[in-house]
């Protein structure tokens, strides 16, 4: 029987097959980074997005492991064994400090990792110190995933902020097991498809868009992805990408990024404050980004 993961609309249901409570290291890692993780271990349904009140009085959306798992429901329906495999992924989380290299360029894609909290990015580094950021990886994204046998990393992967990941090997069933795990295989292909689509978006940004359009497109992409994790337009979300990081992603100098962000801010499209961002006018931001209906499908 194909069973989906509990969605936030069924809050009264208890989460089945939660990771064992005795795994203290896993509990500590998940809960120190994300208070919402505690409720996952306790099997109590909580709001999909926890709002963490920051020192400056703002609030930021904090996805928790259950929310991350919930995001997988949009990919496929899962059988009971598949569901157990997915839940088992959360048993051994690893914390990474900002700046840690997670996968080196040319390394085999033999150990995909699912992000529970924090941000990461993939980048190509030039000999002269320049850098082109290819893609950002947010909670519920999987790094180092490829359905192609023998695939290697075309870019290096780094932690952008404090990161907690878990091994996501169950998402890539061996070739001879794919018929046994059709849901996981479908999810794997969907994740890979989304990555490819983001890379196409990045090509379009860098190749054809002006600075304001590039920025709007990137921020919209991030917003749409966080929206799947429960971020709403009326609440700020964590934005660990600095102006320098955004510059390396959009091929612009730091001062130009600063100027472009201020443009969007003065036009009332976004609000930025102390490492958090809020989308104020989604329709106008989408129009500036040149978002097509097909992009909504992929997001």
């Amino acid at each position: 029987m194909a069973v989906g993961f509990p969605s936030h609309s069924t809050r009264s249901r208890k989460v089945p097959e939660a990771p064992p409570r005795g795994n203290s290291q896993a509990r500590r890692l998940l809960t120190c980074v994300n208070p919402g993780a505690e409720t996952w271990f306790d099997g109590v349904m909580e709001p999909v997005v926890k709002a963490k009140v920051t020192s400056n009085g703002g609030s930021r959306a904090m996805p928790n492991p259950k929310t991350v798992l919930h995001a997988f429901n949009s990919f496929a329906c899962y059988s009971e064994p598949e569901r157990l495999l997915l839940q088992g992924m959360f048993a051994s989380p690893t914390a990474h400090e900002p700046g840690t290299e997670l996968i080196s360029t040319g390394a085999p894609f033999d150990g995909p990792r699912l992000i529970l909290s924090g941000w990461a990015y993939s980048a190509v580094n030039f000999v002269d110190g320049r850098r082109q950021i290819i893609d950002f990886y947010l909670p519920s994204d999987v790094m180092g995933l490829s359905t192609r046998p023998g695939a290697r990393a075309p870019a290096s992967f780094f932690a952008l902020s404090k990161l907690v990941t878990v091994p996501a090997d169950p998402l890539v069933p061996p070739l001879d097991q794919r018929e046994r795990f059709p849901g996981l295989w479908k999810a794997c292909q969907a994740i890979e498809g989304r990555q490819e689509f983001r890379h196409v978006q990045q090509i379009v940004r860098l190749g054809r868009q002006l600075a304001r359009e590039r920025m709007a497109s990137l921020l919209l992409d991030i917003y749409r992805r966080l929206e799947r994790l429960g971020v709403r337009g009326d609440e700020p979300f964590e934005m660990p990408a600095t102006q320098e990081i955004l510059g390396d992603a959009l091929g612009l100098s730091t001062v130009h990024i600063n100027r472009t962000l201020q443009d969007l801010r003065h036009e009332g499209l976004i609000r930025i404050s102390h490492g958090s961002m809020q989308v104020l006018d989604l329709p106008r931001l989408a129009a500036l980004a040149g978002e097509m209906p097909s992009e909504r499908m992929h997001n």
Binding site: A211, S253, T254, V255, H256, N258, R259, Q262, H266, I272
Partner: protein
């Protein structure tokens, strides 16, 4: 790291940067402002605006203007670059060699004239000596 504020001037309009960017030094801040000016040139042209009327007025955290980066500096840097054209170097080298040869020729002529003057002077001194004996 110190924070620098990049106020954007376009003719008489000044857009205040109340956010700023962190750079390790004023030199890094200048280089980033210059790169931004380079990037913004073509965007301003697309929007039918004259980049030559634009500049960044860079200030420190206390509001003191440290330096101004006019967008025309992007063009000035191109002029200086063309000055470094090897063909132009060859022309300059040829001119320098020609000047050197001319200077050597003049030096020879001056030296010859000096020798003539010295011999006349020596002759004059001899004549004066003879005159003083006669007196």
């Amino acid at each position: 790291m110190p924070r620098f504020f990049f106020h954007f001037r376009q003719l008489s309009d000044l857009t205040i940067d109340d956010c700023g960017c962190e750079f390790s030094s004023a030199e890094d801040a200048y280089l980033s402002a210059f790169r931004a000016a380079q990037e913004m040139w073509h965007e301003l042209l697309i929007e039918r605006q004259d980049p030559r009327c634009c500049s960044f007025e860079v200030a420190d955290g206390e509001g003191n203007t440290l330096f101004v980066v006019p967008f025309t500096e992007v063009l000035d840097s191109c002029t200086r670059k063309s000055d470094r054209n090897p063909r132009r170097y060859a022309h300059l080298l040829h001119a320098a060699l020609s000047n050197h040869q001319h200077a050597q020729r003049l030096r020879g002529e001056v030296s010859a004239e000096l020798n003539i003057a010295r011999s006349i002077l020596a002759e004059s001194i001899g004549l004066l000596a003879q005159l003083s004996k006669l007196e």
